[in-house]
Subunit: 143 residues, 2 copies
């Protein structure tokens, strides 16, 4: 009886994750759709913006997808002049990915909806809850 109650409570947690993630991705998804882009484009813009001069290989590692799966969306972003790729000085094989100013603008708009949303959520939950949330998510993120 105790175990079953705990399972019920853990299933509620599963649903919190499911519905939270959907809520969290809706903002950017709506903006992306209007431009014929998808969530992968946002992820590329996000991580390139997060670490300018990121290499293609490092981007692949963080996204955890195949080279072929990255190929198209990245090519599109470069063609749209949202991402630039220039040869690295220290290693001519490596390309350094960066956001162009247009790329920065779009990234700011996409991620901006999520920053706002999280600011609101943490505002409602309060700083102690935010801290505990971060601690818990840290455990979850690292297996």
């Amino acid at each position: 009886m105790v175990d079953q109650k705990r399972e019920e409570s853990l299933r509620e947690a599963i649903e919190l994750i499911f519905f939270s993630y959907r809520s969290f991705t809706r903002g950017p998804d709506l903006i992306l759709e209007k431009r014929g882009l998808n969530r992968m484009h946002h992820r590329i813009l996000y991580f390139v913006g997060r670490e300018p001069a990121l290499s293609v290989n490092d981007l692949l590692s963080v996204l955890n997808i195949s080279k072929q799966a990255l190929h198209n969306p990245l090519r599109q972003l470069v063609a749209m002049k949202l991402v630039s790729n220039s040869k690295s000085r220290s290693d001519g094989r490596v390309k350094e990915l960066r956001l162009t100013s247009a790329g920065k603008k779009l990234e700011a708009r996409l991620t901006g909806t999520q920053l706002l949303q999280l600011a609101e959520v943490f505002g409602q939950a309060g700083p102690d809850a935010e801290k505990a949330w971060r601690k818990t998510m840290h455990f979850l993120a690292n297996d």
Copy 2:
């Protein structure tokens, strides 16, 4: 300067969500892959298991996808005898979806990895952090 620091902290939160969600879905995804199923099949199994006699329309509502997008995975699950659909007694138009015993077994295996993972995470974080996490996620799930 203050605002920029807060943005940095919120971006860390964004990344916690991204990596947490990936970690959270990996377990079921690996099991599903071996059977030629995907995350949508798990979602169907989950919500049907959660509410036996669920109608197709109600399933569509909770999943928030089109009838056509549901059609294939649901048909497959029924064909594999993991989900049963029987006419409702009270309204002959409505089908009541239920997990078969094989469906229950698979659902338990899939969701079981997530239950275990969350039990571990909450165990590490502690009951107070769990409570605060739930409160915060609740705000996030409801916009």
